[in-house]
Amino acid sequence: MQPHIQIGKVSKVFSTGDREVVALDDINLDVRRGEFVCLLGPSGCGKSTLLNAVAGFSPPTTGTILVDGEPVQAPGPDRGMVFQEYALFPWMTVEKNIAFGLEIKKKPKAQIREKVGALLEMLKLQDFRDRYPKDLSGGMRQRVAIARVLALDSPIMLMDEPFGALDSLTRRNLQDELLRIWTEYKKTIIFVTHSIEESIYLADRIVVMTYRPGKIKKDVSVAMPRSRDPSSAEFNELKKELSLLVMEEQSRHNQEEIKAPTAD
């Protein structure tokens, strides 16, 4: 069967003034339909760059990205994006934020209302329907952002450290919520994180990236049945293994930082 997302020989070079940063170098990655893939690596290794290329925000310098066999040209509602900064529209109420994508698609009013109502209920947001984002906690905001993407029925969800700014309890809560959604709607998910534990808790597959140039260091399948117990031996075994890999890259990051300080 054709992979849902095919990333072939993708590289991305940023040139800022006299310096060139190879953010991605020869990335090859196939993601199956319905697969939950985590991109893991230290800060600055190119995770966001890769995700943004799949989203269509910034095309790769070389290589191709195919979704359902079609090259990605631009951002689109078939690939719903969830940002770490939530990116909710602060001038729209919760309800309006979720409805926005459907209004863009010019769906009939009644259908929008029904769908938004169902999503509000599913993500336990009914009581916040008429609130503005500024009145919500981080966890609530991210629920709205997820609902906004779900409203579009995008087969693919791209998530860039969506739970990075949340406290650990809220984070676990949303992780469970996400797994429930993923199981129910059979989404294909690429999820960026630099938390090893988070990646093991969530993913079918963990793709560890190297720091400058951003390459795939290791592609690890996680076979543990869900829901996974972070205190189990198996979990911790994998955690140790991944920690070593990430640590190597982290120390390379630190060394580079001393040589040439960067913004990341």
């Binding site: 269509g56 925000f57 631009a74 951002p75 509602p77 940002f83 909710l88 602060p90 863009i104 503005y132």
Partner: protein, 269 residues
């Protein structure tokens, strides 16, 4: 309660001082009339000039037939019309200039040249072009309101956080939707700041314009009073101008809070 009283303390002391000063024979009442004289003049300026006659007009029309009311209305009318015309011109241009670099580069040099010219400096030209009456006055107010709104709209659009644009693009927003439902609302805090400055400028300009180009309105009235050495009327007129300005600013503030109820820093309940 105590706080409110505190707020009145300084004005009351000053008023008392003023009253005392004017009862002493040191100052000529034509230079500085007593507050009571100003108040009396104010009432005279405010109240209907003729007795109520049902055959002539309705009661309400009669009630508002005082000179002050008619002047205030004339000034307010000019401010509103001038401000609206200025805003209607500045807003689309500002949105386009903010969103499109090419349009920005096309218009920016011209704007940079005209912006530092105080609207007052347009008075001779406006009289030459439009003669006397409302047209030159409104023209000046348009100019006064135009630039603050324009500059702030440009800044507002340019400062729209890229994350909203990206989010909207990934939701499939068209150019029009992006413009109307993302850029415009995101820029409203700036635009409203511009509008508020614009109204303030318009209010300054209207007073000056009335002193020169028209023969009614609050600005005209205080200049006219000077010719008769009615300093009590001048001061009454000045306070009226201040109160109208305050009312306009309060109105803008209310509008601001209503339109920006989603904005951080403004409490909603």
């Amino acid at each position: 309660m105590f706080e409110t009283l505190q707020g009145f303390l300084v004005p009351i002391v000053l008023l008392a001082l003023w009253q005392w000063l004017s009862t002493q024979a040191i100052v000529n009442p034509q230079i500085l009339p007593a507050p009571t004289a100003v108040l009396a003049k104010w009432w005279e300026y405010l109240k209907p000039q003729e007795l109520f006659d049902p055959a002539q007009s309705s009661y309400l029309a009669w009630l508002f037939s005082g000179e002050l009311i008619r002047d205030a209305y004339a000034s307010l009318y000019r401010v509103v019309v001038g401000f609206l015309v200025g805003a209607v011109l500045a807003l689309p241009l500002g949105l386009m200039m903010g969103a499109n670099d090419r349009i920005y580069k096309l218009f920016n040099p011209l704007i940079q040249v005209f912006r530092p010219i105080p609207p007052i400096a347009f008075i001779p030209l406006s009289i030459l072009w439009f003669g006397l009456g409302n047209p030159p006055a409104i023209f000046l107010i348009v100019i006064g309101a135009f630039f603050p709104i324009l500059m702030n709209t440009i800044a507002g659009v340019r400062h729209v956080d890229g994350i909203y644009i990206r989010a909207a693009r990934s939701l499939g927003a068209s150019q029009t939707t992006m413009f109307l439902r993302v850029m415009l609302p995101a820029a409203t805090p700036y635009i409203l700041t511009g509008a508020r400055i614009g109204v303030g400028t318009a209010f300054i300009v209207v007073i000056v314009a009335e002193m020169i180009a028209v023969n009614n309105g609050l600005g005209y009235r205080i200049l006219e009073a000077r010719e008769f050495f009615w300093s009590d009327k001048i001061i009454a007129g000045m306070f009226s101008i201040g109160l109208l300005g305050l009312a306009i600013d309060t109105g803008m503030n209310r509008l601001n809070n209503y339109l920006l109820k989603w904005h951080r820093g403004i409490e909603s309940n």
